[in-house]
Symmetry: C2
Amino acid sequence: MSLLLRGAGGARGALRPCCPWGRAASRRGLSSSSGAGGLPGGGAGVRPGRRSLLAGLAGAAAALAGLGLARRAEMVSREPVAPSLGGEEAAAEEEEDELSRRCGDFMAPPVSGLRELRSRRQDVRSRMEMLIMETQSQVCRALAQVDRGAAFTVDRWERKEGGGGISCVLQDGNIFEKAGVNVSVVSGHLSEEAVQQMRSRGKTLKTKNGKLPFCAMGVSSVIHPKNPHVPTIHFNYRYFEIEEADGTKQWWFGGGTDLTPTYLNEEDAVHFHKTLKEACDQHNPELYPKYKKWCDDYFYIKHRGERRGIGGIFFDDLDSPSKEEAFQFVQSCAKAVVPCYVPIVKKHSCDSFTPEEKLWQQLRRGRYVEFNLVYDRGTKFGLATPGSRIESILMSLPLTARWQYMHTPPEKSREAEILEVLRNPKDWVH
Amino acid sequence: MSLLLRGAGGARGALRPCCPWGRAASRRGLSSSSGAGGLPGGGAGVRPGRRSLLAGLAGAAAALAGLGLARRAEMVSREPVAPSLGGEEAAAEEEEDELSRRCGDFMAPPVSGLRELRSRRQDVRSRMEMLIMETQSQVCRALAQVDRGAAFTVDRWERKEGGGGISCVLQDGNIFEKAGVNVSVVSGHLSEEAVQQMRSRGKTLKTKNGKLPFCAMGVSSVIHPKNPHVPTIHFNYRYFEIEEADGTKQWWFGGGTDLTPTYLNEEDAVHFHKTLKEACDQHNPELYPKYKKWCDDYFYIKHRGERRGIGGIFFDDLDSPSKEEAFQFVQSCAKAVVPCYVPIVKKHSCDSFTPEEKLWQQLRRGRYVEFNLVYDRGTKFGLATPGSRIESILMSLPLTARWQYMHTPPEKSREAEILEVLRNPKDWVH
């Protein structure tokens, strides 16, 4: 069951922008500090009515979608957990509470519930959950504004063993073919299999009878636009905590943002990378070059000898210099999503295109599917985990894709130009 | 480089049928012993001119495509090996030779060359190579006839370490969206990795310094029609030989044929399974039930809880009761491909369909891609093998596919009807 956020205000809430972005702005230049970047959560649209949202929320199959970590999750069918308020006092408190005010802008109530979040508000777990909810909301609202009337479907799902998620999907809009932004917050015990998977990635963990208590959360998203001159974006920011048998707690962050254009536009590539570099440089000038390379290495379609796109940043196992500093860094990256992408969408969404350009986009979409199904660690792990919420995991696949036998673009064509960059990644900013 | 078989006769040969199959026949009933089943190799079309075929053949990247077994293959760029004839005497001998006559109907000269095939004509290796070449030719000609003017592209590729293959692809025809029939015949030494892969499948093999001389060959094919009322078919028949360190030779066959309809047609399902059962029953009445179940188990999309299609037969590691009897069985299965499928194509290729039915087909194509990229052993192994001929491996993917978030067909719809059968396989013949 899902709730469709459509229409202007009223019981079901609305994501239609108050002041729709117009065609006049479509040709302006790019600037990482320009308009869209400053979008506050919910600033662009009427926010969803909380009570009606709660009434419409659905219990569903649950697992970690796109996080690459989950225990067996089973279907549950019960009323969603509302922010745990007790009586009028608590309600009054909520009204004044800054946390409560921020939650009001979210696409749905946070998974952990307001009382729990408030009780440990200084804890990175709470702050990260607020950050991923805020990121989901900011991105969805910015996209809805650009799409001029698009409808996001909001699905809230729960996980029997603890936690759940919120999947927001816009399908067949004006500008976007398929845009999904997914949040999940899960906890429980890691299975032996998941522990093995983590060990092979360099983590040494002491289990108790092969089990590890864990907590994991993240926001992940893939946005596929219709126009072949508007690139696809993917981002994912996540946080893990694990308690070992001796009580030692391990924690780490992972994430990244990367761009997949159908055609190369150097100005866009520079804008995208420059915005990410600025976010990284606030914390350490060594981060961007390191995570840019990691991104090029990770999104590699080995059997094609091509990267999936023109890269961005990617990192995993980030547990230094301190939890606070790592969180601040992740926060900067998450806040860079809208400014690195939305100006590019605005710039190109009215560009004209030929049927041949649309066809090339569809072939590139086929490559996107190949990467996600054959190589992507999160997707593979999610598919292999019984009880995962498959629809949230495969939300990343494009609406349509194409495979043509022996398709080779002519030399010096615009199609060959992007292939060259996918085969030999470039440095876009220095 | 590839050779396009188009046009009526002449230097480049033709696959356009002499007496095109007409609309009048489209509504007739099904019978496994009817017309198409008896198609002789090359009976339907003018056969390609041998000399011009040779002139147009291309050296290309080579590996075992779809066989699930290969050593590292590298790009080669040299003239194809023509049937090794020396002087006029040999040419005269070839003219009279039955082997030579059969080769004349093939889509391209056989990989091993006529002299080699002739020198060991009683050997199962030679007989299997002739069988897979004949199967390729029969299927391509039958499809070309049904498609009324479709063009098959014939690519011949070589493998540096030994052997090569012939890929025949028809793309965007009148009836078929994408039809690929691939033959490969390779030999060399199995890598440690491949040996491990085989061991995990129950074979115990004694290597010499981790290497095993091997020979592998097979025909594999996927046919995706345009009309959603015409099902997709896949088949694959293969033979392996391995020589262990102590000189012991191991050999086995594998293969199968399975159908993936977009909508269920019970008459078609019965015809398809009955034809396969008849082929199996000629050899042993226990084979069909065993291989039917194996097929349902193998083509399982675990994360969806659905089979890819309505099954057929599937078997592997077949090394009994004798090499001769196993070969005879495989031959019966290969010869059943055209009669189990082509009558269904003829019956439905003029059926009218709605845009909604086309959309459902595209969603099912998405599932086909999921199975092939996530689960299919041959595809996975091929993609993981450096130097594989990727275009031949991914020939199995449909021209177009679709993924729609949370698509659920209405209860009791025709879409729900096929889903039910994919979730709970039925017995079609007893």
